[in-house]
């Protein structure tokens, strides 16, 4: 098919060149000849490529399933214009072979250089029970978790996703492993397995998508980083112009502030509502309220008692967390490419009540169980400004309120504090493409009256493989 067209175009090209030649000087002539030679060369290469493409296209067309063609007869008149001459191919037919059904794969590589003025092994939040891994990073060079993700449709009813992380300590952990029932009616998409809970705003975003190197203090203090749900999730989007999403989750309750309690039934229940929309083409927002209820049995942590001894404490009781979150984004006419601004904040509140055992391991010889009740809260607010393509600056402020802690009869050994841990961070990042980001972050963390840490992070995030999603 392309050969007569090609011939015609080649003729037209030659004529076009000929017209130019008439009005040209000798020097021009040489240049034009040179250009023609170049054109010829590129043209020959093109024809070759075209012929190759034609062959493959013919082969594909012969094998293409007829289902791709619409059944109803097209009522529209045929296009009057001729087919383009440039490299063309038939509508894509998927290639076969043993790997044809491989899931989408992506990997995230991360690492940092860290400079901390205080010893990270002494990291602790005044007035808060340490909650797992809150240390920002080891000093000097380190890699952070490398993430590997696989996802694909399982069949006509299910979609599956597996994300595991390879830790710098050479262990593997499953971050998310869930299925989604995609054929459910009424806008419900039940999810089951292990997944990051959709409470709050930041909780279900992976660490590499955050705008700062580390999680806000409220996430560290109240959720031990991020809340992972092992169980079930149901979300429902209301059929309205305003975005209204209701969600509920149940699970084993083994994630902090709960723990594994060796019991049947459900260990935690979460519920949330997210509302959002556009103010105009330039401004969009989302706000949410979330509630998490879980329980802990003999949740261990150690704390300095009134006499300065490191006492082991065990908490058994209920833990309730409420979160209010909002995010607001601005970009001129919704085009975030040049400049954009993002403001987000979350407020956390947690109540724990139950029993606390002082000196649970008997190291001090004073083991005693008493009542316990705490009401604590905190917030963070952050703004990120992209001032030119690929460059952003950001600022974040964290604040925690140790609130009221009632140790009951253990009040003789344990005291509460009125110190507010707080942290201020500034960051600058460079995002040369959607798949790479480099960041430098400075922050001052006042975690205890006698512990002010000045921290510097230089971080990289590289993404390989399947295209990531642009989350709001």
């Amino acid at each position: 098919m392309p050969s007569p067209l090609l011939a015609r175009s080649a003729l037209a090209l030659a004529l076009f060149m000929a017209v130019d030649v008439h009005a040209a000087t000798d020097a021009d002539l040489a240049e034009i000849r040179d250009q023609i030679r170049q054109l010829k060369q590129s043209y020959e290469a093109r024809i070759e490529a075209l012929e190759q493409r034609l062959k493959t296209a013919e082969a594909k067309a012969a094998a293409a399933p007829t289902a791709a063609v619409p059944v109803t007869a097209p009522p529209v008149a045929a296009a009057p214009a001729p087919e383009p001459v440039v490299a063309a191919s038939a509508p894509a037919a998927p290639t076969g072979g043993i790997s044809a059904f491989n899931p989408a794969i992506s990997a995230v590589l991360q690492g940092a250089y860290t400079n901390l003025s205080k010893d990270p092994t002494k990291y602790a939040l005044a007035g808060f029970a340490p909650s797992g891994d809150i240390v920002p990073a080891p000093r000097s060079f380190s890699i952070a978790e490398s993430e590997l993700a696989l996802s694909a449709s399982v069949d006509d009813k299910f979609y599956g996703n597996l994300i595991f992380s390879l830790t710098p300590e050479n262990t593997v952990s499953v971050e998310e492993a869930y299925g989604v029932y995609t054929a459910a009616p009424y806008g419900i998409a039940p999810k089951f397995g292990r997944f990051l809970s959709s409470i709050g705003y930041l909780n279900d975003q992976h660490q590499h998508a955050w705008d700062f190197y580390d999680a806000p203090l409220v996430y560290q203090a109240f959720l031990g980083g991020q809340y992972q749900n092992n169980g079930l999730q149901v979300k429902w989007v209301a059929p309205t112009d305003l975005f209204v999403e209701l969600g509920a989750e149940i699970g084993s309750g083994e994630s902090y502030p709960g723990n594994s309690r060796n019991k049947n039934g459900t260990g935690n229940g979460n519920a949330y509502v997210h509302v959002g929309g556009d103010v105009d083409a330039s401004n969009s927002w989302r706000a949410g309220l979330s509630y998490l209820q879980t329980a802990a049995k003999d949740r261990e942590y150690s704390q300095l008692d009134n006499t300065g001894n490191d006492a082991q404490l065990d908490f058994t009781g209920k833990s309730k967390v409420a979160i209010a979150d909002f995010v607001w984004k601005w970009s001129p006419n919704g085009n975030a490419q040049e400049r954009n601004f993002k403001l987000q904040g979350e407020y956390f509140w947690r109540r724990e009540n139950g029993d606390l055992t002082y000196d649970a391991d008997g190291a001090l010889g004073l083991t005693q169980t008493g009542g316990y009740r705490s009401d604590q809260s905190g917030f963070y607010v952050q703004g990120v400004w992209q001032f030119m393509p690929t460059w952003r600056v950001g600022m974040r402020y964290d604040w925690l309120n140790p609130g009221s802690v009632d140790y009951g009869t253990n009040g003789a050994y344990l005291g509460s504090t009125s110190f507010n841990p707080q942290r201020t961070a500034v960051m600058l990042d460079w995002t040369p493409s959607e798949f790479s980001r480099f960041r430098v972050q400075f922050q001052q963390a006042k975690l205890r009256p006698d512990f002010t840490d000045n921290e510097i992070f230089v971080q990289y995030i590289l993404t390989l493989g399947a295209h990531g999603a642009h989350n709001f």
């Binding site: 076009f16 619409p70 059944v71 109803t72 007869a73 097209p74 009522p75 529209v76 008149a77 296009a79 009057p80 214009a81 087919e83 383009p84 001459v85 440039v86 490299a87 063309a88 191919s89 509508p91 894509a92 995609t182 459910a184 009616p185 009424y186 806008g187 419900i188 998409a189 979300k235 429902w236 989007v237 209301a238 309205t240 112009d241 305003l242 975005f243 209204v244 999403e245 509502v273 959002g276 929309g277 556009d278 083409a281 969009s284 989302r286 309220l289 919704g334 085009n335 975030a336 490419q337 393509p389 690929t390 493409s433 798949f435 295209h467 990531g468 999603a469 642009h470 989350n471 709001f472």
Partner: protein
């Protein structure tokens, strides 16, 4: 906060109660397909256009409003060829609307009905933002819009058989009118044949092929990669050997690189509507190409 929430819920319930007037709710990812669905569906469709002409179609976020827009849709009309890869899968998934999932009749990709150009012979992100399916900016050639119109009409008929005759009649009428318009545009654009131009992003390949223009260079060193001064200098040097008439860009793109090159190479910088709504004149599909050609002719002078 509680009051706001109650207000929101009340609004939600009210909206639930309101009956849908149009037969088909259509979610168009970009303005050109929104305009085409309106041409074909008339008052039997209600069109939600997810993006505007001033947004970069590659970089859209799955905002709450888009999820809400997809929630009630009977049909999603997308370009495909991975143009919307960053956000549409997330939107259709989060909207929890089984009708518009890929593979269902309620999911329509235009690129499947068009001859794709610039299919990369190798796939490597080192080559920039490459699309395995070929260059996705198919709407810059109106003949592609016409090619999509037929199967899209068929899809409307399939989803809403009660109005089959209506869609078919409108589809036929659109095909005739638009076919004539294409002939007129081609006559009008005859002087553009062979005109050498520079593009900012490789967004106009189909337009260039249609009108027989000659793309001398691109300001982006690789698709989707911001031009650097070093690269622009190279383009400038190339333009001294191979002069161009103008540098063109889409309405959604910054004019910085275009102006830089236009001043130094003493050529015209032309902003094209790129899609419906990109300029005040590009009010509909006809205005889009009227204005595109008018601006190109002016730039070629």
């Amino acid at each position: 906060m509680k009051a706001i929430l109650q207000g929101c819920l009340a609004t939600a319930l009210l909206a639930l109660a309101a009956p849908a007037l149009a037969a088909l709710n259509v979610f168009a990812t970009v303005p050109e397909w929104g305009a085409l669905v309106e041409e074909l569906g008339g008052d039997k469709v209600k069109v939600y256009v997810a993006t505007n002409a001033l947004q970069d179609p590659h970089h859209i976020e799955a905002k709450p409003s888009l999820i809400a827009g997809a929630r009630n849709a009977d049909l999603v009309v997308a370009t495909g060829a991975e143009l919307e890869i960053g956000w549409l899968p997330l939107v259709t998934q989060r909207a929890g609307n089984p009708k518009i999932q890929p593979g269902k009749p309620g999911y329509f990709e235009a690129a499947g009905f068009v001859t794709m150009l610039e299919k990369p012979s190798r796939l490597d992100r080192a080559d920039g933002d490459v699309h395995p399916g070929g260059n996705p900016h198919i709407q810059t050639d109106p003949r592609n819009v016409l090619r999509v119109a037929a199967p899209l009409t068929a899809r409307l008929v399939e989803l809403d058989p009660a109005n089959a005759a209506y869609y078919q009649q409108r589809g036929k009428s659109f095909g005739e009118r638009f076919g004539i318009a294409i002939g007129n545009w081609e006559k009008l654009a005859a002087p553009l044949k062979g005109v050498p131009i520079v593009v900012q992003h490789k967004a106009f390949t189909y337009l260039i092929v249609w009108l027989g223009m000659n793309e001398v260079a691109a300001l982006e060193p690789k698709p989707g990669v911001e031009p650097t001064t070093a690269w622009l200098s190279e383009v400038l040097a190339l333009l001294e050997r191979q002069p161009a008439k103008m540098v063109i860009r889409g309405a959604y793109q910054s004019d910085r690189a275009s102006q830089w090159i236009a001043e130094r190479a003493r050529i015209n910088a032309v902003a094209l509507p790129f899609t419906v709504g990109g300029t005040p004149e590009a009010r509909d599909l006809y205005g889009l190409y009227d204005d595109t050609i008018a601006r190109l002719l002016k730039g070629a002078k």
